[in-house]
Every structure is written in structure tokens, then in C-alpha cells.
């Protein structure tokens, strides 16, 4: 009995520790975003805004009013959604082949995906920078969508292959015996079974693209295509030697909202997707 309560207390403590670990920095940046800019310039140490240093929603109003920032959000959403959609479609085809068909070169596909997943992206920005300028897609949405697709493909292919292997493909045969054509079997049985996996892969792909920084700063030069992480890092405000920390924090919070929403709604799926792609006996 004593052991039992002890371990229960330990688990509860561990739980508290995990939650604090994960959320403290997030709480901090939220708190910072409510400090007024004067307070930050004059120095306002401490976790919470204090001594009249609170700014209310002012920083958020300023951020949303900022054209650069609005454009960056728009770029990020557009680019990431397009890249995610394309990447997931292409990865679905590939994962289907990997999970379902016997073919020469399956190993090659998986190895390529593995190598690309480990690729040092920075080593590509030089040549890509050069190539994209030649093709005329430097500093455009397409210039980012293409590398985002390629670098999210391995993740999507792995996750989807893992999901597809779990689908009871016997169903497809059962449907054929039940009188379905190949297309009907796919449409009425396989699609509903595969949809959750595809959706999960899409979320992970979106995270990946949304998080990118290297391509974002290297392959853009203006706000035409600059995504939000790059825009945040280039955001210096009026005084280049003293960055407007609280304004940046407000921007960061805004950029984090989509992630938090996705996590809140789909946490179970995301965890399944993350681990399905990586570990499994």
C-alpha cells in the first residue's frame, strides 16, 4: 500500500513537472507580449508585467496592424497549405505503393526518403539560391513550396506507409468478393479507412513547413514570399540595437496559435502519427 501511494505521488509530481516544463516558456512569451514597449526598453525583469508596465492588447493591435507581419502570416498560411496538400497527395501515392505493392526499387524509395530526412538543409540553400534565381522563382511562393514539399515528403511517406500497413487490406478483397469493382472497393472501403492516416500526415507536414526557417530566410528577399519565422527574425522595429521584445512576443504568440489549435484538436492523432513513422518493432 505504502509503495502504491508513493508511486502515485511520484507520478503526479512527474506530471506536474512535464506540464510546467512544456508550458512555462509558452506562458512566459504570452506574459511578455503583455508588457508595454516602454517598460521593455527601460528594462523590466521578471516573469509578469509589473509596475504599470502592462500594455493590455496594444502589442497585438500593433502586430496585426503591421503590413509586413500580416503579409508574412498570409504567405505562411498559403505556402504551407499548398505544400501540405501537394506533399500529402504525392506521399499517399508513394506510401500506397510501398505498403501494398511488391516492386523492385522499394528499398531505393525508402532509403532516399531516409537520406533526405537527414539532409542538412543549409548545404542546399547555396545551390538552390543560385538555381531559383536562374529559374526566376527566387522570392516567390513556388520557390518555397517546392523545397517544403521535398522535405516533408519523407515524413509523410513514412507516416502514411506505417498507417497503410495497418489497414486491413483483406477488406479490399472482401469487397471484391461482395461484388465491388476495384474502384468501388477503393472508394467505399479503402478511402474511409485511410482518411484518418492521411489527415494525420497532413497535420505533421503542416507543422514541418510552418516551422521552416532556413529556406524562409535564404530563398526570399522581400515580404512577397517571406514566411512568418523569417519575418519574425528580421523584425527589428525602430531601434535596431534594442529589439521590441514585447511586440515580437505578440507576433510569436500569433504565429503559434495555429499550432496550438491543431494540437488541441488532434493531439491523439498527432502522437499516433509521430510514433508510427519512427518506431515500431
Amino acid at each position: 500500500m505504502r509503495n502504491d501511494t508513493l508511486s502515485r505521488i511520484g507520478t503526479a509530481l512527474g506530471l506536474a513537472l512535464i506540464v510546467i516544463w512544456c508550458l512555462l516558456p509558452v506562458a512566459w512569451i504570452v506574459s511578455l507580449s503583455f508588457k508595454s514597449q516602454e517598460a521593455v526598453t527601460n528594462g523590466s525583469p521578471g516573469f509578469f508585467p509589473s509596475g504599470g508596465g502592462g500594455a493590455g492588447w496594444q502589442n497585438y493591435v500593433d502586430v496585426v496592424k503591421d503590413d509586413q507581419f500580416r503579409q508574412a502570416i498570409f504567405n505562411s498560411i498559403g505556402i504551407c497549405l499548398i505544400a501540405t496538400a501537394l506533399s500529402v497527395v504525392i506521399a499517399t501515392l508513394t506510401a500506397y505503393a510501398v505498403a501494398r505493392l511488391e516492386f523492385k526499387g522499394k528499398k531505393f524509395v525508402l532509403t532516399t526518403a531516409l537520406v533526405i530526412a537527414m539532409f542538412p538543409v543549409v548545404s542546399l540553400v547555396g545551390p538552390l539560391f543560385d538555381m531559383w534565381r536562374t529559374f526566376g522563382i527566387y522570392d516567390t511562393w513556388a520557390g518555397l513550396i517546392i523545397p517544403y514539399m521535398s522535405f516533408t515528403l519523407p515524413l509523410a511517406i513514412w507516416t502514411l506507409s506505417a498507417f497503410f500497413r495497418e489497414i486491413p487490406w483483406e477488406m479490399e478483397q472482401a469487397a471484391q468478393v461482395d461484388g465491388a469493382t476495384a474502384w468501388q472497393a477503393f472508394r467505399r472501403v479503402i478511402v474511409p479507412l485511410a482518411a484518418p492516416g492521411v489527415f494525420t500526415a497532413a497535420i505533421l507536414t503542416f507543422f514541418f513547413a510552418w516551422n521552416d526557417f532556413v529556406f524562409g530566410i535564404s530563398l526570399t528577399s522581400t515580404e512577397r514570399a517571406r514566411p512568418i519565422p523569417a519575418a519574425l527574425s528580421f523584425f527589428v522595429g525602430d531601434d535596431p540595437f534594442n529589439r521590441p521584445a514585447s511586440l515580437l512576443a505578440a507576433g510569436a504568440v500569433v504565429a503559434t496559435v495555429p499550432i496550438v489549435l491543431l494540437v488541441l484538436f488532434f493531439q491523439r492523432k498527432i502522437v499516433a502519427g509521430l510514433t508510427a513513422g519512427a518506431v515500431k518493432g
Binding site: 538555381m131 498527432i270 519512427a278
Partner: protein, 310 residues
């Protein structure tokens, strides 16, 4: 082992390839072609281009002065102390962060594994650092460590509140590593949790009956059975850490000698337009990732097929 087995059965298989399997082959090639093309377009092709450009003295600001210099760029890079300092930084960051992520991540995984309540809460919390933009995490920690606006100095007992974390190499590195560890430990924990879930419960009960203490169960039953999961997690994270860039860019911008090898490459190419030497650095970076990957696979005998079979 597997490759030899395969080559021996292959000729027999090919000889009898039926129409059906040939059709299957064709369909599969069509299905995987777009993905392969796209992945190679953005990696293999630029990499070859980098290989080519690295043989030239080539600056974007003076594109007409491009001259062939052979391996001169590589010699320049390899004989430059900066290259070695940044490589050392990178390896240092990789080793320290992966170590802490592994230890803390495992502790988290153990807690999550035991948990019967509040699972949703923990899952949500743990996914937030994973999902958050690295740049944002960099900012959050930079401001947290800041001596004008941060809270870290206030919260650490006996700490001089004016201490400037970014004014000195070791403390700046520490700040960078904290941000990296914070962001990626949850991912590690999730991978380890999945591995932990695969250790059969009855095996642990058998160990208990056999008289193993908690510590012995951990070292002799749980860890050996999680070997594959741990190794895959370490490999993923180590290679990821070796590419560290975003946090450094945001937090120190390379000041106090905290540059990583990725950062050096980036600076040469994008900021200084030195495409020749930059390309040489790109190739070296790529090669060093290969070396690290190979080293880890060999050192820990990681079974990649375990990961790939997923």
C-alpha cells in the same frame, strides 16, 4: 545478412515474373515517380551543382570573375580554424543536447507510461514545444535569459541579476542548448514512450517474480528491450541537432563564437555571396552529416530496418 539472402533469391524470382507482378511493378513505379523526382530535384541535383560550384572561385557580387580552382576551396575551408571551431561547437551541442534529451525524455516517458489520468493534458502539453516554431522558442529563451527583461536571473538563487548570458561563450552556449533541449525533449519522450509501450507487461511481471528490483528491471529488462527505439530516437535527434541553425541565428547570431557549421555555411553563401567556398562548405557539411550518421549506426549498431519498417 538480408542483402545476401535477397540476391540469392532474386534471379529465381525474375525468371518467373508473371504478368501480374510485372503490371504491379509498372504501377508502383508510376506511383513513386513523382515523389522520387521531387526529392531528387531539390537535393541530388543541387548537391551535384554544389559539387561543381565548389571547384570555382565564384562570388555572386562578381559573377564574371568565376575561375576554376580545383580543390582549393576545400583546402581553404579545412585549413581554416573557423571551420574546425564551428564543427567542434556543433558536435558539442549535439552530444550535450542529445544526452539531456535522452535522460529527461526517458523520465518523461516513464511518467507518461504510468499515467492513468490527465493523459490528454499531458499529450497536449508535450506537443506544444514540438509544434512551436524553433524561431519562436529561440526568442522565448533569449528574452527569458535577457538581463534587462528576462526572469531567469531573478529565479536562480544567488544569481547576479545583471549577469549577461550572451556576453560569454559558455553561458551563451548554455542558453542555446537550453532552448534546443526544451523544444526537442518532448519528441524524444514520445518516441521513447512508444518504445516503452512495446515492452511486454508480463515480461516485467516475470522479472518481478524472479526477484528483480526496480532498478534491475529498468536496466536488465526495460532498456535492453527498448534498444531499437532508443537508438532510432538518438539517431534522429543527433542528426537533427547537428544541423542546428535557427536558435543560434535568433539568439546570438553567432556572437561569442557560438556559430555552428550550418551557420557558417549559411553566412558564406547567403550573406557574403561566396558561392564557391560556400558550396565547398555545403559539401563538407553534407559529408560530415553522413559521417555522423554512419558513426552512430556503427557505434550503436542501429537497426535501421526497424525504423524503416515502421
Amino acid at each position: 545478412m538480408t542483402t545476401t539472402a535477397e540476391t540469392s533469391t532474386k534471379p529465381r524470382r525474375e525468371a518467373r515474373t508473371s504478368d501480374k507482378s510485372r503490371a504491379e511493378n509498372r504501377l508502383a513505379i508510376k506511383l513513386v515517380a513523382p515523389a522520387i523526382a521531387l526529392m531528387l530535384l531539390v537535393t541530388a541535383f543541387p548537391m551535384l551543382r554544389a559539387l561543381y560550384l565548389s571547384m570555382f572561385d565564384y562570388t555572386l557580387t562578381a559573377p564574371d570573375d568565376r575561375t576554376f580552382v580545383g580543390f582549393q576551396n576545400y583546402l581553404t575551408a579545412l585549413s581554416d580554424q573557423l571551420f574546425w571551431r564551428d564543427t567542434a561547437n556543433t558536435v558539442f551541442i549535439m552530444v550535450v543536447t542529445v544526452f539531456f534529451e535522452l535522460v529527461i525524455g526517458f523520465a518523461f516517458a516513464m511518467v507518461m507510461h504510468k499515467l492513468i489520468f490527465a493523459r490528454g493534458l499531458v499529450r497536449t502539453s508535450i506537443l506544444i514545444p514540438y509544434g512551436i516554431i524553433t524561431v519562436v522558442s529561440g526568442f522565448a529563451w533569449q528574452f527569458a535569459f535577457s538581463n534587462t527583461n528576462g526572469f531567469v536571473n531573478n529565479w536562480i538563487p544567488f544569481m547576479n541579476t545583471d549577469f549577461n548570458w550572451f556576453g560569454d561563450y559558455w553561458s551563451a552556449m548554455a542558453a542555446i542548448m537550453v532552448s534546443e533541449i526544451w523544444k526537442t525533449t518532448p519528441f524524444m519522450a514520445l518516441l521513447l514512450l512508444a518504445g516503452l509501450a512495446q515492452v511486454p507487461e508480463d515480461m516485467l511481471e516475470a522479472a518481478k517474480v524472479d526477484g528483480a528490483s526496480w532498478w534491475q528491471r529498468l536496466w536488465r529488462v526495460i532498456l535492453p528491450n527498448m534498444r531499437a527505439a532508443i537508438m532510432v530516437a538518438v539517431l534522429f535527434r543527433a542528426l537533427d541537432a547537428y544541423r542546428i541553425f535557427d536558435n543560434i541565428f535568433v539568439m546570438t547570431n553567432g556572437a561569442q563564437g557560438t556559430e555552428s557549421i550550418s551557420f557558417l555555411t549559411y553566412r558564406q553563401v547567403i550573406e557574403q555571396f561566396q558561392l564557391g567556398i560556400g558550396s565547398a562548405l555545403s559539401v563538407l557539411l553534407f559529408l560530415s552529416v553522413l559521417v555522423v550518421a554512419f558513426g552512430i549506426v556503427k557505434l550503436f549498431r542501429v537497426d535501421l530496418s526497424a525504423a524503416r519498417q515502421g
